[in-house]
Subunit: 599 residues, 2 copies
């Protein structure tokens, strides 16, 4: 079994050396007292919990899965106890407001803890992870009474939450949902309908489960403009705010899935369940966006989890397993063959995983600092700036990092050869678990449309410019710096190509809107490779600078620069292929009649 | 559940219109009487069997898996009965020699039947599939007595066979195997050791199982030059050739795997088991190559199976499922949303699958005709020519088509969105089943070394030239033909690049042999994309020509040309990225010290 080791050295590099979070936090009044020591101690507590409590339950949870019996769901052995410990350690309430019993720490710290939980045990991480979305929604859109009723219990984790969006016939297209909400005399609503794919929709870890549900009022307009949001608790709170009568909301079954088997994916039936409107009628989808951005960043983190987990497993095996001799002659003549890490094909797979894990980590942690700023920066301008950057980076991070997580997981199996296909080693589990990340919270294709359509073209390129300008400034600042040209020159050129490409697609889309759909996925990959190129150039520059300040850690900084070099020479060329595919045009995608796809 | 439909129209296009197999067969004396009618009737029988018997057992077999109890293995419900029917229909003995009860038909027909079996039910297909390798080995290297004892029973399928190569510590590097064979007074050998990952190593379908085992004699040289080959039957044949006493070979357990769960992957213990030497002592590995080439082509077919199965499932769903409107306005205003096949991202995934399924099919069927010729052509020159072409095409087809099968399977899940992750739909099963194909019979990385190292560089490019010359001649012949320029121009150019690239790597490898390992995988993908470009240009040319001869099937021929266009514009650009990755150099792969991969 491959046990998880939190990559604390790399996490601290990103937080302290690259992002300088101490300075970032002190610039935000709400977090002025968060210093490096506090950050490191939280990382340590999180690491111990993930390594010692969650990681040992990862394989067993996958084998056992969740149990459904007559409306109740039992999580695998040990999950409930781990959850209780997680609450005891205070890891669940780091960023929750102090008013509701939280610790009032920056959201960015949740991301680091979430990464460790998710790598150690993806399925387990879904339970607290989903709760967060419900909390954020109530915090942002609930009435004071609603906040008072739900937030303390949920912040403490005694109650958990879900987001009930999808119906069997309506996933990407939420405009099609049919769940109905009918107003009652007491101002509450009676909900009727069935939701599917509800993560943590039913389980045995908490006293109550608070569902946030998308539904339609009887007179609602068709489509996405007729969706309202409701709080539907499993048990209705009594007058004292404690668990009261059972509500008409029941789990009808759990899905049998490819992966994340220890995460209960529930069908939830609403049979006249009592719900409470949250936010304005018919404005439910806008309210959802608050939550959806955070959930998408959380999913981007899961891409990093897959890459990190697969990298750790593959690296361990590649050092141990011996097979064949280096083509240049024995590297370990004392062994009967060389460890496979000497073979270039194996090194290439490992370095690819490393590049995605470390590059992805830096990207999502950076994004997390923008979440801090968007919510808490001292000026509206600074909040808006962070929000803009988040808007453009979120679909890129969500789709690109989850796809790269899948690729890294694939390499993890491949490094193990035939053993990678055997469940016991845990490498194939990562492939199965991470496959969901390219599907939920908006598929890769939906993220691509969000990026190119909504974020880039609908703002006439303004949002994109905010990011390309950052890249441009970085290139200007470091163009003449020793050792930086191998990064700055290609980055500068790709950054320019990105703008030109965008303009070109925008012009074509004026004539034919399908050009957007036809280019979006390749555009997303292109954007992802350029974004990660920026991150790697930034890390290489930081590592080079730190090398002189901190020479006793030279090995670490050299490796960082070498990983950047690998990225630029071996992965970045893929950006050109995506560009060429876009240039391949729309005609070959659209010309075939539906009837001619198969005979 | 997604049931399989044999793509008979496309199979006939490849066999009759592209490859003209009737003419091909009549040119080979042994097959002179095989005509189109016979081929089509075998396809029909195979299709009915795959669709009606195997496909319905595919999901249930995955859910149930194999059962192991105290040395015995029980296959899932229905598997045994399907096997009996398969034998009754004569599908298992098509290409076996008539002398041993076979039908003496061309091996290429096995490939078409194997494709249908494998798409309908990959796991089931493993049982007869593995037997074939053992039969071929005994046929090629056994004594007359051995042939007489084993071949009739195995051809009839009453006995099945296995290939016992891998040991837990030795997979890609067979030089490390430790299983021992000690000569006994009666000329037989006593085998001691444990083999793992033995497909069909134990099951309940046949009266006897004949293991072909790699082992070492006591005085054998180290490494691959000290390996001998043995026949080790589960039951020793008695004097009459029937099942006699139980031999000391036992199944110690079956693996719990990511996929192909209904295929028994066994640990086989040899505890002084009686074995019979086959071929010369210490020459076992050479004998294995006979079988390995065939097994690799069989695995290449499985790449086609994955692509075809995923394509069929995705196409069905993409026509049915409605979500969102076409960006250019409703295509189906009568529905509440448009079928997702209108969206360019979905069409792109479907066309990618279609391209790999149909292109892969044409490649492996073409390769299969070379197998016919290599074994049965009337002149030694013709046999050698076919063998050379097989040598160069086999690693490309095995590695490239299985990787593309995995990609197609991924798209299959993605088209289904969240439903793709649910077991019931069967799309995730294809992802899990096909993952093994990039691992067994030599991983993608091993195939890449075989291609670039053994086949290309060790022959000073001679083998490669035999293929690039075919491409060159095709381009010359069709350069001026109306409508062909969009294919011929890029193909001609890539063909030249292929030669230049090979020369370049060859020169660098003279200085540093690791250059071979550093380039091999990208070289393999590059070669794969060029090979498939040739196949698609050839199919486009054939379809254009047939269009005028057979205008009532214009829709089919138009679609074929449109699919070729899609390949050239949307997939072939990837070849350039692989070229650029090779040009990225070896330094970034090799420079990082092992200790610096993680801190």
């Amino acid at each position: 079994m491959n046990l998880y080791q939190a990559p604390l050295r790399d996490m601290r590099f990103v937080l302290h050396e690259l992002l300088n979070v101490e300075q970032h936090y002190t610039s935000i009044p709400a977090f002025a007292e968060v210093n490096r020591e506090l950050v490191d101690s939280i990382l340590d507590v999180g690491a111990r919990f993930a390594e010692q409590e969650l990681s040992p339950l990862n394989r067993s949870g996958d084998e056992e899965g969740c149990h459904y019996h007559d409306g109740t769901v039992t999580t695998p052995k040990g999950f409930k106890e781990a959850y209780a410990q997680y609450l005891d350690l205070g890891l669940g309430s780091l960023s929750a407001p102090q008013a509701y019993g939280g610790q009032g720490l920056p959201p960015s710290l949740d991301i680091a803890v979430g990464e460790m939980n998710g790598t150690a045990n993806w399925s387990w991480g879904m339970y607290p992870g989903l709760s967060r979305g419900a909390i954020e929604t109530i915090k942002a859109h609930g009435t004071d009474a609603q906040k008072n009723t739900y937030l303390s219990k949920m912040t403490n984790g005694i109650w958990t939450g879900t987001m009930c969006l999808t119906e069997s016939h309506a996933g990407s297209d939420l405009g099609l949902i049919r769940t109905k909400a009918i107003e009652q005399d007491d101002g509450s609503y009676a909900l009727h309908g069935t939701k599917v794919f509800i993560s943590a929709g039913e389980h045995d870890m908490a006293d109550n489960i608070v569902h946030i549900v998308l539904a339609r009022l009887p007179d609602a307009p068709k489509g996405t403009k007729g969706i309202s949001l409701f709080i539907v608790p499993k048990y209705l709170p009594d007058a004292g705010g404690e668990v009261g009568p059972r509500n008409g909301v029941h789990c009808g079954g759990i899905e049998h899935k490819m992966g994340i088997k220890a995460s209960a994916t529930c069908t939830i039936n609403f049979d006249g369940a009592t719900g409470f409107l949250i936010g304005e009628p018919n404005k439910g989808l806008q309210c959802m966006f608050t939550f959806m951005n955070a959930a998408r960043v959380g999913t981007a983190v899961q891409g990093v989890c897959a890459a990190e987990g697969a990298f750790q497993g593959a690296l361990r095996y590649a050092k141990d397993r011996v097979a064949m001799r280096s083509l240049n002659g024995p590297s370990h003549p004392e062994l009967e063959a060389d460890p496979i890490i000497v073979h270039p094909a194996v090194r290439t797979m490992l370095l690819t995983q490393k590049t995605f894990a470390e590059g992805g980590r830096a990207l999502v942690y950076w994004l997390a600092t923008q979440i801090d700023l968007a919510a808490h920066a001292s000026t509206p301008e600074a909040r808006q700036q962070a929000d803009d950057l988040m808007s453009i980076l979120t679909p890129i991070a969500k789709a690109f990092l989850t796809e790269m997580g899948s690729e890294a997981a694939k390499h993890g199996v491949q490094v193990y050869g035939g053993h990678g296909f055997i469940r016991e080693w845990g490498m194939e589990q990562i492939v199965r678990d991470t496959r969901i990340a390219c599907l939920y919270e908006g598929t890769t294709e939906i993220q691509a449309l969000d990026l190119l359509g909504r974020k880039v073209l609908q703002t006439q390129g303004e949002l994109l410019k905010k990011f390309t300008r950052i890249i441009h400034k970085f290139c200007e600042a470091h163009a003449a710096q020793a050792g930086m040209d191998e990064f700055v020159a290609p980055l500068q050129s790709l950054n320019k190509t990105w703008s030109d490409l965008t303009m070109d697609i925008g012009m074509k889309a004026l004539m034919n809107r399908d050009e957007v759909g036809g280019s979006a996925v390749d555009y997303l990959y292109f954007s992802g490779y350029v974004t990660l190129a920026y991150i790697w150039a930034w890390m290489a520059e930081t590592a080079s600078r730190r090398l002189s300040e901190n020479p006793e850690q030279a090995d670490f900084y050299h490796a960082k620069v070498q990983t950047a070099q690998f990225y630029y020479r071996k992965l970045l060329p893929r950006a050109q292929a995506h560009l060429a595919c876009i240039q391949g045009g729309l005609v070959v995608v659209q010309q075939m009649p539906v009837a001619a796809f198969a005979f």
